[in-house]
Symmetry: C2
Subunit: 203 residues, 2 copies
């Protein structure tokens, strides 16, 4: 008889330009799927009011993060505005072993590091249907200066050049459709023969 044993979860690398709706789509996926969690990054930046260690981030000192880097304890890391941000390998590994799908919501360079180091990943690039639409969404926030908008659009152009490094391209034309597309990818990738070995061995 076949037994469906708790399988290893999927390591999901998700990127997309600022303003493409990543946060909203991810939060809906997490609300719908008990089998899927978001990876918590380490950072050296100070906690903001209301942030809790281990929830939004693991808050660590510069020395601690640099030691993690030396000990190869980060799946990927980068520096922004003088602070380190990274993905702790052990925390992600423990979740995958429990059978949880782990989403890493990271930018293209960190994503490249993870894809290189963890060949068994699922990589998804989320995009708006066009740059025009991305600009419209950034402007509609009403909180961004002209300079910030220009800088974000330029960053988006750079990120889009890396979309071809990802296995899947999901357009976020409408949020429910983008959520459904992500769900289909998670379902399908869970059915890959290479990930279902225990079932066939038990046949």
């Amino acid at each position: 008889m076949a037994t469906i044993e708790p399988r290893r979860g999927l390591l999901i690398v998700l990127s997309g330009p600022s303003g493409c709706g990543k946060g909203t789509v991810v939060s809906r996926i997490l609300a719908q799927r008990e089998d899927t969690v978001l990876s918590v990054s380490v950072t050296t930046r100070a906690p903001r009011p209301g942030e809790t260690d281990g929830v939004e981030y693991f808050f660590r000192t510069r020395e601690q993060v640099e030691e993690m880097i030396r000990n190869d304890e980060l799946l990927e890391y980068a520096q922004y505005s003088g602070n380190y941000y990274g993905t702790p390998r052990a925390a992600v590994e423990a979740l995958l072993e429990q059978g949880k799908n782990v989403i890493l919501e990271i930018e293209v360079q960190g994503a490249g590091q993870v894809m290189h180091r963890e060949p068994d990943h699922v990589s998804i690039f989320l995009a708006t249907p066009s740059m025009t639409e991305l600009e419209r969404r950034l402007r509609s926030r009403g909180t961004e200066t002209e300079e910030r908008i220009t800088s974000r659009l330029s960053a988006a152009q750079y990120e889009l050049q890396h979309a071809c490094d990802y296995q899947y391209l999901v357009l976020n034309d409408e949020i429910p459709l983008a959520v459904q597309r992500l769900n289909s990818i998670i379902e399908a990738e869970s059915l890959r023969y290479s990930r279902m070995k225990t079932i066939m061995e038990g046949f």
Copy 2:
């Protein structure tokens, strides 16, 4: 602006032991999805009452099929009980170009030929949760002799050894679940970056 052009359909290779419920699952997929069709095979066997040329099969003479083989007009072919069965390349290609996903419901050897010749395929092996369950289903038909059941179970063992050649393994424990799994695979595979080039070029 990005334009979502009619993309090329998916070439879906579907196999699974006799009695695993392939026919039922495929007919539900076809009923639900306007974008997906079943490939019609050529055969040299005589039409049965009620069968129409071009619907169940393309009925051809032995000479015609052998000429198709010589002209490389079949994606795969095999002989059973003295008759040829094969998949006409031109018909499949025309449907893919129209943007239709084309399901080839074929046995493992024909499937191997298609996977080898058409690298851009989606291959799915459908299975019952166990051999015990497969035997139960074959017996529950009430139409099979003991000899036929033994022969089908032995064929199933052979086919299962080839499950590892397929990209996806779908368990047909419950038909609606198996249908949903196939739908997820079709949705996800349609989102592969390599198949969405026209969109990114238009970005």
